[in-house]
């Protein structure tokens, strides 16, 4: 479970890029984070994972404050950053093994998860190649596997579909659903509104550092009193803001 409580952030004094955000993501829920470029999506994700410090408020990961108990909180998170260019000089298998060591995953578990997921993503033949030789999509896949090695209770994905082929997008969507079904949190930011519409239990629309909508797609449609697609609703809501 993730609780974002009265969180604000400024890079320049007096100019808040995140303005008093409150949000609760329950276990078993898939939450899509939508917003235009520069809305504050990545800033929120970076604060949730301890990459950026929080000016005001707090974020609790399974009840542990990312400010006060960062190491305990980080153990419960699996993050897919916006750039998948991680440790390009390592072979795929070396990277996965390194991630498993960092998160203290047992030999049996790491073997099983790597075998299963590399098969699902069809990259088992590339694991002995250096990551620098991978395509963007393959890099994304290896990072996805790396984040799931320790079976985090909170899976946070920053633009996870970027660069993936249609089959990999489909597999990832299935994986996200199944992961949430097991009682975990799946929190992801995306530009692809169709994915959010089909996949999410709830969506959050953020613009200029403020949440302008939280709820189910149906609620959004009711609110706007129109039977439009999410794309049209999104354009309408951010233009109103």
């Amino acid at each position: 479970m993730i609780e974002i409580k009265n969180v604000s952030k400024s890079y320049i004094r007096g100019q808040k890029v995140i303005d008093n955000i409150n949000l609760e993501i329950k276990n078993g829920e898939i939450l899509g984070f939508i917003g235009p470029n520069g809305a504050g999506k990545t800033t929120i994700i970076k604060m949730m994972t301890g990459i950026l410090d929080i000016d005001e408020g707090d974020i609790l990961i399974d009840g542990k404050s990312i400010k006060e108990q960062p190491y305990e909180a980080k153990k419960e998170i699996g993050l897919i950053p916006d750039s998948p260019d991680m440790f390009l000089n390592l072979k795929g298998i070396q990277y996965l093994n390194f991630m498993a060591d960092i998160y203290r995953v047992s030999e049996e578990d790491r073997k099983k998860i790597i075998k299963d997921l590399s098969k699902t993503f069809e990259i088992e033949d590339a694991l002995n190649e250096k990551i620098e030789s991978y395509s963007h999509g393959m890099r994304q896949k290896i990072v996805i596997i790396g984040t799931l090695l320790h079976s985090p209770k909170n899976w946070i994905l920053d633009e996870p579909m970027t660069g993936l082929d249609p089959k990999a997008i489909y597999d990832l969507k299935i994986m996200m659903r199944e992961y949430a079904k097991k009682g975990n949190v799946v929190f992801f930011s995306t530009h692809i509104l169709e994915v959010a519409e089909n996949l999410c239990d709830r969506v959050v629309i953020i613009n200029k550092g403020k949440i302008i909508f939280i709820g189910k797609i149906e609620e959004l449609k009711q609110k706007m009193k129109e039977n439009n697609s999410l794309e049209e609703l999104f354009m309408e809501i951010i233009s109103d803001d």
Partner: protein, 551 residues
């Protein structure tokens, strides 16, 4: 064709100058804020002062005419080394090759533009090392205007030799390279092989001098012999030196131009036939894959977190050609040069002059000696760029440090280990040399200096890592940007100056006290600074301030 070559060369040269931050982007003005601008200026001033001193000494022993031979031989060797390091990288592995391949460019145009890129770098080196020293020589030897015109001709012609010959060799060698599985390892191995060949040639030359020389007063003559030998080996250098010395100018110039014409003709002829084919072959091989299944039983063994983290640090340093060349390779070269110089001075000079040998063996260690050794160690530490690029080398991955559940302070400590280890190797070489030259230094004293040097090494690494954490370069596209556009190096030099000043002050303050009290004083000063810096790091991590810029 010429238009295309000029255009490609202009683009390469402009990129190069901008990479070194020497010109302001989009303008033709010099960038006086660039660290490289100031470093080049400092090197030019140092070379001018050293050359002036050497010219004075040579004038006193009536050997002034030796100067151009020695200088040109030295610069030729430096330029050969530089071309070895650059050629395969620029010709075959530069980032722009794949973007240029689809364009309508002839193989010879691409080849010549690449060669011009290497040439531009060498002209820079040559200007730094030879321009002013040769003017100083001309003024001291009372040369006329003809000499200065010859100087320009020699400066223009000299770099063509290493560029054309090494490129020619590279083209032929690469023709026979069937497949490069690991391009990083390939670059490192070829460079090391070339360098080993050059070092072996130098060692053989020095041995030859040792065998011939019995009298120290003949040193100047022997150095000339060595320089002459090097110059003869490099075919056109001897006639170029003769041009400089105003001997048979026209005949020598024709000789040089003739040799160049043949070499360039050969280069273009061979390049036209094999260069583009080789580039395409290598690009294709790089993309080809041989499936090698993972052996989960051997490749998935768990390791303790900190061991895995440290292994990854060393992997990054040793498995990436650019990082290796910029961090580990200069240290290897420094170690080889130090051992080489120590042996040369010990066997070639000290052992041959009884008075000097007696003087050194009779010297006892005092505080001045301790401070000189530590000052020298600090200067060598400042040449190592491991800690100062530790975060920047990770690029956008640097955020990884912050989201993994591993204590940031422990990560900070692990990141210091590679630089501290390398520093200790350098320190040991200095201490062993000191023991060889000054046998009276006791082992206990050496151990005390080792402890002080190690504390200084940790302090140096800590401070440079803090600089990199505070001012990281994370948004790079090519690894080389971490080093070329890194203004943080200036802090390393400033810190070195500060250490030298501190040591000078301690030497003065401890002039009359017992040596061990002096050791204690130095230890207290360094340990106190280290304690304060460590406190700053812990506090910075605790209140989330230290890693603020790593995002």
């Amino acid at each position: 064709m010429i238009k295309n070559i000029i255009l490609l060369t202009k683009i390469s040269a402009r990129n190069l100058l901008e990479n070194y931050d020497l010109v302001k982007k989009g303008q033709d003005k010099l960038n006086r804020k660039s660290v490289y601008f100031w470093l080049i200026l400092i090197v030019i001033v140092a070379i001018t002062l050293i050359s002036n001193k050497i010219i004075d000494v040579l004038q006193d022993v009536n050997q002034l005419e030796v100067f151009p031979s020695i200088l040109i031989a030295l610069v030729t060797v430096i330029m050969f080394m530089q071309t070895i390091i650059l050629s395969i990288n620029v010709l075959y592995f530069s980032k722009d090759i794949e973007s240029l391949l689809p364009l309508a460019i002839k193989p010879e145009e691409l080849l010549i533009s690449k060669i011009n890129t290497i040439l531009t770098i060498l002209y820079g080196t040559e200007l730094i090392f030879t321009f002013i020293p040769l003017i100083l020589y001309g003024a001291s030897a009372g040369m006329g205007i003809g000499y200065y015109i010859s100087e320009i001709v020699v400066i223009l012609l000299l770099p063509l030799l290493p560029v054309v010959t090494i490129s020619l060799i590279s083209l032929i060698v690469m023709k026979f390279v069937k497949r490069i599985k690991n391009r990083n390892a390939f670059q490192i191995i070829t460079t090391l092989l070339f360098v080993i060949i050059i070092v072996v040639v130098e060692v053989l030359s020095i041995n030859w001098i040792m065998a011939q020389q019995n009298d120290y007063s003949e040193m100047g003559v022997s150095l000339k012999n060595l320089a002459d030998n090097i110059n003869k080996t490099f075919i056109v250098v001897e006639p170029l030196v003769s041009i400089l010395q105003q001997q048979n100018i026209w005949i020598n110039l024709l000789k040089v131009l003739g040799i160049y014409a043949v070499l360039i003709f050969l280069l273009i002829l061979i390049g036209k036939k094999i260069y583009l084919k080789n580039v395409l072959k290598l690009t294709a091989y790089n993309k080809s894959k041989v499936i090698k299944k993972v052996d989960f039983d051997t490749q998935c063994k768990p390791e303790p977190v900190y061991k895995a983290y440290m292994k990854n640090e060393f992997n990054t340093l040793f498995k990436n050609a650019i990082f290796f060349m910029q961090t580990i390779f200069p240290v290897c070269m420094t170690v080889i040069s130090l051992i080489f110089l120590a042996i040369y001075f010990k066997i070639g000079i000290v052992d041959k002059i009884q008075e000097l040998s007696d003087l050194l063996t009779g010297l006892n260690l005092n505080m001045e000696g301790v401070c000189i050794i530590l000052g020298l160690a600090q200067i060598l530490y400042s040449l190592v760029s491991i800690s100062i690029t530790s975060i920047s080398r990770m690029g956008k991955n640097a955020i990884f440090m912050k989201f993994i559940p591993v204590n940031l302070y422990k990560q900070f400590l692990i990141k210091n280990i590679p630089q501290v280890l390398i520093n200790i190797i350098l320190l040991l070489i200095i201490l062993i040399s000191a023991k060889i030259f000054f046998p009276l230094i006791s082992i206990v004293d050496l151990i005390c200096i080792f402890v002080l040097g190690t504390v200084l090494s940790i302090l140096n690494s800590y401070l440079m890592l803090i600089v990199d954490i505070k001012r990281p370069i994370l948004n790079w596209k090519a690894e080389v940007e971490v080093f070329k556009q890194n203004g943080n190096k200036i802090f390393q030099y400033v810190w070195t100056i500060a250490v030298v000043v501190i040591l000078m002050y301690i030497r003065k303050a401890c002039e009359t006290v017992n040596l061990y009290i002096g050791f204690l004083a130095v230890f207290i000063v360094f340990a106190l600074i280290l304690f304060i810096v460590d406190k700053y790091v812990r506090k910075g991590i605790k209140n989330n301030k230290l890693f603020k810029n790593v995002i």
